[in-house]
Point group: C2
Chain length 226, copies 2
């Protein structure tokens, strides 16, 4: 195998590992929420004990691969941007894993109480956040910056869902103080899902930067690129 081929092969491998890590994060988000909504604490344990440790391990592996590539192959332009993006995406995915663990760790407490507080639209919000992650990863896999741009727009929807859920939960707490603790538990899930969506947005931005060399952070809100 000549040097260039070997280099391209290493880049592909790096991308595959990032995509694999992304798939694990999707599973973690899904399981952590369904531990609560389907009252299945074993799903929460799976996230905390099995999936998240593997996610953490992958972040370290991806960092090592990226730094090795930079040191040994000294990539330039689009390849360098890809390696830098992989470093950052690995970091985002690791934090998404932490957020899923936050949700999972809150599950036993929520499950120990009767399901009196409304479950509001958390499953819909989780599904939307996971769809953003899936699209970001598809954009990474298929080098599709249009798909990545669509993710940036979805973030506002998720924020609107969070606002609605917050209003509903605050109302229920105010009307019935015995609901404070469990409503707070749900409110924290909404908060964690919102942050999961934020990280999916970061990943989409990193994919756009890789493909187009354009830094869309901190600009999108004011002037959406066309």
């Amino acid at each position: 195998m000549d040097i260039r081929k070997h280099f391209l092969h290493q880049l592909d491998e790096l991308r595959e590992r990032v995509l694999y890590m992304g798939g694990l994060v999707e599973t973690a988000v899904h399981h952590s929420l369904h531990a609560v909504t389907d009252r299945k604490p074993e799903l929460a344990d799976l996230v905390t004990e099995e999936i998240e440790p593997e996610i953490n391990h992958l972040e370290v592996e991806i960092d090592e691969r990226a730094l090795q590539l930079m040191a040994l192959q000294q990539p330039l332009a689009v390849d360098l941007r890809f390696v830098a993006a992989a470093l950052k995406i690995g970091n985002d995915l690791e934090r998404m894993g932490d957020l899923a663990v936050n949700i999972a760790k809150g599950a036993p407490r929520l499950l120990s109480q009767p399901l009196a507080a409304p479950l509001v639209d958390l499953p819909l919000m989780a599904e939307r956040a996971n769809r953003m992650l899936r699209s970001s990863l598809d954009a990474l896999m298929n080098r599709n910056s249009e798909l990545a741009r669509a993710v940036l727009e979805s973030d506002d929807e998720v924020d609107a869902m969070r606002d609605l859920i917050f209003r509903q939960l605050i109302q229920s707490m105010t009307q019935d103080p015995t609901l404070v603790e469990r409503s707070l538990g749900l409110l924290f899930i909404a908060r964690n899902l919102e942050r999961i969506a934020d990280h999916a947005t970061n990943i989409a931005e990193e994919v756009i930067f890789w493909i187009e060399g354009i830094d869309v952070r901190h600009h999108f809100a004011e002037a959406p690129p066309t």
Copy 2:
């Protein structure tokens, strides 16, 4: 100036920009909290309108400097680790800026109500989180990995403070439902401060990785390195 000197000069410049960005983040955290505790909404505006945009701008600048250094100078070993650490630290600092903005944006609402809910120990928690950031930055400036390791230990203290504050606020909400909204506001401040401390911990880990080449993420809790 010979090539090596020029390279070292660029590394120093990169570090100075990271340190400058870190100083802005400290100010943002301090002002956003004091907007609430000292009832000074103008401090919140300062964070949102002046400081955070500059923090965002610095993240982009640091990314560009780091990528340029990687492309043109192809640093190796400890230098490569430093450039990679600068990329990550810039990212952490930018998110800390966002968290300070979260606190600042909640200020007007909290200030529109009488200060009936206890302010608990938010100022102490903010001061502790900022001290962690300051130590991480000092460790970066002085290449002092011992100082960075001390930061990792402080994180547990901040988490304990958050637990105490949460308990106090939940109790006050449960006893008096009219306090729900403002207690929630304080609770979110505690949550944001906790995450600010988490990012300070990340920075300390990145400094250790730079200096020692040892990845302490995901291991510290089980077996503190000696």
